[in-house]
């Protein structure tokens, strides 16, 4: 069984929001769109987005880490949002594990959003149905797109390649390898939702200099060590 997912590498995410707006522009004119925006040119502009990048500061100056944290639907393997839906509008696809909303069935009761601990769902204030990341399901199988582009828009745009996409049930997939080898973890594991999306932690490369490395045979100062001499200058050698 396939479970498609994103693996987000916090080690390289610089918080540029490329995933946020590339998602918006693809999806607002795609199968999941439109994605409305209120007060687009007025006070407190607010719209529907499937993906947001947040910023957290960890620690105290000067030992501070700034973490940029993209967040979208995690396509849980045991999604709490699905069984609570009274109409069956929220569902998890058997073939690839993507959690989707059928807009025609959605009554806009928002209960699924209550049942998501991650805040991944957003109601469209004008279409009045619940929306969320579709993993660009209208891209990833689209015969209209070149094969290399059959990936979510956010993954394609991400300048730091911080978003990996693939099947986490395939042990040899890029995402499984990344999770396995680079400490991939799930958010709020305490609720047993088994998010398909994983995050890769920060990893810090350090350097250790052994003091021997500073005492060098190739020290160029050795070449400068003996200033030029004038052979005419007196020396002990002249005396004895």
């Amino acid at each position: 069984m396939t479970q498609l997912a994103l693996v987000i590498d916090l080690n390289v995410c610089v918080g540029c929001h490329a995933c946020v707006t590339s998602c918006k522009q693809w999806n607002t004119s795609g199968a999941a769109g439109p994605m409305s925006d209120d007060n687009p040119y007025g006070p407190e502009p607010t719209g529907t987005f499937f993906n947001r990048v947040q910023t957290f500061e960890v620690g105290e100056f000067p030992n501070t880490d700034t973490i940029h944290f993209p967040k979208s639907c995690l396509h849980c393997e045991d999604p709490p949002c699905v069984p609570v839906c009274p109409t069956g509008a929220s569902y998890k696809r058997k073939e690839d594990g993507i959690v989707l909303v059928d807009y025609d069935k959605c009554i806009g009761c928002k209960y699924c959003s209550w049942a998501c601990p991650y805040g991944a769902r957003e109601i469209d204030e004008h279409q009045k149905v619940m929306k969320k990341c579709t993993l660009c399901v209208d891209r990833i199988y689209s015969p209209a797109l070149p094969e290399a582009e059959r990936i979510p828009a956010c993954v394609m745009a991400c300048p730091t390649n911080a978003r990996l996409f693939g099947d986490i049930h395939d042990s040899e997939s890029e995402v499984s390898v990344a999770i396995r080898e680079r400490g991939g973890y799930a958010l709020q594991p305490e609720w047993g939702t088994h998010p398909a999306n994983h995050y890769l932690p920060r990893h810090k490369t350090k350097m250790h200099i052994h003091e021997d490395e500073l005492v060098r045979v190739d020290n160029p100062l050795k070449k400068e060590g003996f200033p030029p001499h004038d052979p005419r200058e007196p020396a002990l050698d002249d005396i004895n």
């Binding site: 918080g15 929001h17 007025g42 501070t64 025609d104 394609m156 745009a157 350097m207 070449k223």
Partner: protein, 962 residues
């Protein structure tokens, strides 16, 4: 059922896919635009583009909202008779009326005194054309935004290593092992830097960020070293000191490829004090940098010509020539210079512990020495020596405005260039790599006019509007040594102001100092808002009148695509197109998008027709050039030479028959030549077929060591990138600067600074880098204003451009002042509370956000989020106006009157780089009874004719049926 996987319905409609180049920032990524029924549906990175290889940032991905923004100007406008500038009251006019108005006015100016027309442009990408237009018009008063952006970076590096960061070079992160980034705004450089850092980190590289603030790229650094703003110079000198002390420098590299071993006359009494001793009096013809300096050879213990076969010069020592002249190698002088610049000394200035500085130096040095890269690429150096391999020391640096935007930035950046050179990392794998057309001679060849005689009625300018002074006699000053440009560029106040000083244009023009002008044409620069210092006063100047009722700046033309704050001050408004609606070139004559491996240029080709009556600014210039009969735009018989801008791009040659034009690719009648060749009528089509980009990959043996690579230098000369093949030796010691210093001491033959500036020039034109406190700090009571205040660039916004973008403004709707909690609590300022930030020039009320990611002596905010109410067609009461603010109000364009003059620019004394980050401030809590809006506030602007209405909500769905 709505099956979201079923894309057939949404991909209905007429789908077209077109390639062009992004312009949501200055990065110039290749984009692929999908249209559905003629509406922009999707903008993706072009996977076949060498710059971004398919990725695209938040801005680029929001181009749709820019294209269809209600802030767009769509009609030519003139100020409503009787209304004030700044009131934003306009009446619609025809393009013909606009052209006629400009033609009449400019023709008269050109016939009398061309310098009364000034053309200044923002972050445009067409300086090849705008510069040409100014030059053809005959005015020296032209520059782009470089002077207030990062000219220190350009000048400091180019005057040291013959190349610079970003467009002209950068860190080779593919091969580097250690990457040190100092003070870098995230837009310099954008996507390629993100791609490179990510790959670098994944490959196990170590990334150190030195920055007062940990945002953006610094966030993912392996180590963050907070530093006090404006003190990087002290850090770099201490690093140089430690690297020399420990012998971790690359001696062989310095000897052969820099002037480190060259002997300098140290006889203080001599007129040639501080100059290299040379074997020839006059350089031989065809040579710009004669190789006639001396080394002191260790083997023979005699002075020998540099690069003599078998010679091995001393880098340190103290020698005496046969004629008794005392001489020292440049490196000796550098070592002496940094003797006192110990890590302990630097700790006091930078706030970085001395042990950290030492460790940093050791990391750099040990990696550079012990992790050497050797590539089996044979090459020949400029002295004829054959090398079996290209070697490199894998320590790379990147720096930008954090170093540049200080009045000590030039010398700081010189220090950086020297540190990079000491480590032996210039144009070598894993270090710094050039991008064509760089490296260029130090300094590059173009020169400005150098006296009043070069500006003549009805004639093109004699000289380039912007150039690279090599000695005092290249300055553009009158007989008294006083400035001739409106921004006082290339004068003794800012001799190496190679990008001009746009930040002083309005103030100088208003004051009539050095002279009044008639017409100021501003292209896409928001000089009444975020792109100016001292915003409130500058807005008053724009609206100020003489006693006779005429404006002090009589005529103001603004060309912009959007209703910026600057537009409201215009007498004449020209609606520019969006980037998706026009032809553009990223020209080798301006700032191309070259890669490390060879020259690259690119184009924009319209993907949608212009909105309303929008007209590309290039078309305006080509049309005006024809109407004004400027020689380059007109046939001998006076008829117009170019049908339009695309026609101009194809057919224009720098000189008749030169074969050099705006585009380097597919030249020659059949498109089979590049760099140089006859105009090709099918050039646009060929670019279009090739992803809008031309990329020539140099042979491997020409890709490295290009300053000294005989093969490359020959290639570059053959393809007319350069005029000379002389090796471009690194200026560890800058003889160029010494010439200006000698002039200030009354020694160098020719032009001398006016008396009041002699001390200034003498001090700051130090041939070796040194640290001094930024000028503004020197003139500030720092006990009263203890904090530094700087801005950062949010990655999802480019300057002021994106507040009208419905998607991007949701990410950054307003801004806070970020303050270390310790600093804020000391003033009893709450997280989220209101505070005042005040400098000696002004004050701003804003909201505070605590941050542990800023050093306690610094406060900062995002740049250019704050907007004037109603500007950019935002509703009054929008976050940008009520909660957003500009730091510009506390920054002055001029220093307080002091010994150097009453109106000295708040800039680097060498380059005229705006000292944005020098301001000192204090913060205090706003009163509980104060209004909860940012201060200052301005009048609310109404929309102008031709703007589309603002929708109260959007549900954008491009074309098609849903």
């Amino acid at each position: 059922m709505v099956d979201l996987a079923n894309n057939a319905a949404v991909e209905s409609g007429n789908i077209e896919v077109k390639n062009t180049t992004c312009y949501m920032c200055a990065c110039r990524c290749g984009i692929r635009v999908t249209l559905r029924d003629g509406v922009v549906r999707y903008i993706q990175g072009n996977p076949d583009h060498p710059l971004n290889k398919g990725v695209l940032c938040a801005k680029g991905s929001s181009g749709i909202m820019k294209q269809y923004s209600p802030a767009r100007l769509t009609k030519p406008l003139k100020r409503k008779p009787g209304s004030d500038r700044g009131a934003n009251e306009f009446v619609e006019i025809s393009w013909e009326e606009a052209f006629k108005t400009m033609e009449e006015r400019l023709r008269a100016i050109r016939a009398s005194d061309p310098k009364k027309f000034a053309l200044f442009t923002g972050r445009d990408q067409m300086q090849a054309l705008t510069g040409l237009f100014a030059r053809q018009f005959g005015t020296p008063n032209y520059a782009a935004h470089g002077g207030f952006c990062s000219v220190n970076m350009a000048a400091g590096m180019i005057y040291t290593i013959g190349g610079s960061f970003w467009e002209f070079g950068g860190p080779d992160l593919d091969r580097a092992h250690l990457f040190v980034m100092l003070g870098t705004a995230e837009d310099h450089h954008s996507n390629p830097m993100k791609m490179a850092i990510s790959k670098f980190k994944r490959d196990g590289g170590r990334f150190i960020s030195i920055n007062p603030i940990r945002t953006g790229y610094s966030a993912i650094a392996d180590e963050w070293i907070p530093i006090k703003p404006g003190t990087d110079g002290a850090l770099l000198l201490a690093l140089i000191n430690e690297i020399i002390q420990t012998g971790l420098y690359d001696r062989d590299f310095l000897v052969r490829y820099s002037n480190a071993a060259q002997l300098i006359n140290v006889n203080a009494a001599s007129d040639d004090f501080g100059m290299f001793v040379r074997t020839s009096e006059v350089p031989p013809p065809g040579v710009i940098h004669p190789q006639d300096q001396l080394w002191w050879d260790r083997h023979t213990n005699t002075p020998v010509q540099t690069h003599s076969e078998g010679a091995d010069p001393y880098l340190l020592g103290d020698f005496r020539l046969d004629d008794g002249t005392p001489v020292k190698p440049a490196f000796q002088l550098l070592a002496e210079r940094v003797t006192d610049n110990t890590p302990e000394w630097a700790e006091q200035i930078t706030g970085i512990p001395a042990a950290t500085i030492r460790r940093l130096a050791h990391e750099m040095g040990v990696i550079a020495r012990d992790e050497t890269i050797e590539l089996p690429i044979a090459w020949t150096d400029a002295w004829g020596k054959e090398h079996a391999a290209v070697t490199g020391n894998p320590v790379a640096f990147h720096a930008m405005r954090g170093l540049a935007a200080h009045s000590n930035g030039f010398q700081t950046i010189r220090a950086l260039g020297i540190l990079m050179s000491l480590l032996g990392t210039i144009d070598r794998p894993g270090g710094f790599r050039h991008k064509a057309p760089f490296p260029r001679p130090i300094p590059p060849c173009p020169k400005t006019p150098n006296g009043p005689q070069d500006v003549r009625p009805n004639e093109p300018l004699h000289g380039m509007p912007l150039g690279w002074p090599a000695d005092p006699n290249d300055l553009f000053v009158d007989a008294d040594g006083e400035p001739l440009r409106i921004d006082k560029g290339f004068s003794w106040e800012y001799p190496l102001s190679v990008h001009g000083l746009m930040h002083n244009v309005i103030t100088n023009a208003w004051r009539g100092d050095p002279y009044p002008i008639d017409t100021l044409l501003i292209f896409m620069a928001n000089m009444a808002w975020n792109s100016t210092m001292n915003t409130v006063a500058v807005r008053d100047m724009l609206n100020d009148k003489n006693p006779n009722g005429e404006y002090k700046i009589p005529f103001l033309i603004v060309c912009d695509a959007f209703q910026s704050e600057m537009v409201s001050f215009a007498d004449l408004v020209l609606p520019d197109t969006s980037y998706l609606e026009r032809h553009d070139v990223m020209s080798m004559l301006d700032r191309p998008i070259s890669e490390f491996d060879g020259p690259v240029d690119s184009v924009r080709i319209p993907v949608v027709p212009p909105m309303g009556q929008c007209k590309p600014f290039q078309e305006v210039l080509v049309e005006l050039g024809g109407r004004l009969n400027l020689p380059a735009f007109t046939h001998k018989d006076g008829t117009r030479k170019f049908k339009n801008y695309p026609d101009f791009v194809i057919n224009y040659e720098t000189e008749p028959g030169s074969g050099i034009g705006f585009l380097a690719g597919w030249r020659g009648k059949n498109g089979d030549q590049f760099m140089k060749g006859e105009p090709n009528p099918k050039q646009w089509e060929m670019y279009e077929k090739n992803n809008c980009v031309f990329h020539y990959e140099l042979p491997k043996s020409y890709q490295y060591m290009r300053n000294w690579n005989a093969g490359y230098l020959e290639w570059a000369r053959h393809h007319r990138l350069t005029r000379y093949v002389d090796p471009i030796n690194i200026h560890i010691y800058s003889e160029v600067l010494q010439k200006f210093r000698l002039a200030a001491q009354g020694k160098y033959p020719g032009k001398k600074p006016p008396q009041r500036l002699r001390q200034r020039v003498e001090k700051y034109f130090d041939p070796l880098p040194f640290y001094y406190e930024p000028l503004e700090s020197q003139l500030t009571d720092t006990a009263l204003y203890p904090l530094n205040a700087v801005t950062q660039r949010p990655m999802a916004m480019y300057h002021s451009w994106d507040s009208q973008n419905a998607w991007l403004r949701q990410i950054h709707a307003h801004n806070y002042l970020f303050v270390n909690p310790k600093t804020a609590r000391a003033q009893d300022i709450a997280d989220g509370g209101w505070l005042w930030v005040e400098s000696m020039h002004g004050k701003v009320r804003c909201m505070c956000r605590y941050s542990e990611a800023v050093e306690p002596g610094t406060v900062w905010t995002w740049n250019a989020i704050g907007k004037q109410s109603g500007a950019w067609n935002l509703e009054p009461g929008s976050n940008e106006a009520n909660k957003g603010f500009l730091l510009n109000h506390v920054i002055s364009e001029e220093l307080p009157p002091h010994a150097d003059g009453a109106h000295i620019s708040n800039s680097d004394p060498v380059t005229g780089q705006a000292g944005w980050y020098d301001v000192r401030v204090r913060i205090y809590k706003a009163g509980a009874d104060e209004e909860k809006v940012t201060s200052p506030q301005f009048n609310t602007l109404k929309p102008v004719p031709g703007q589309s209405g603002r929708k109260s909500w959007l549900a954008f769905f491009a074309g098609g049926k849903k």
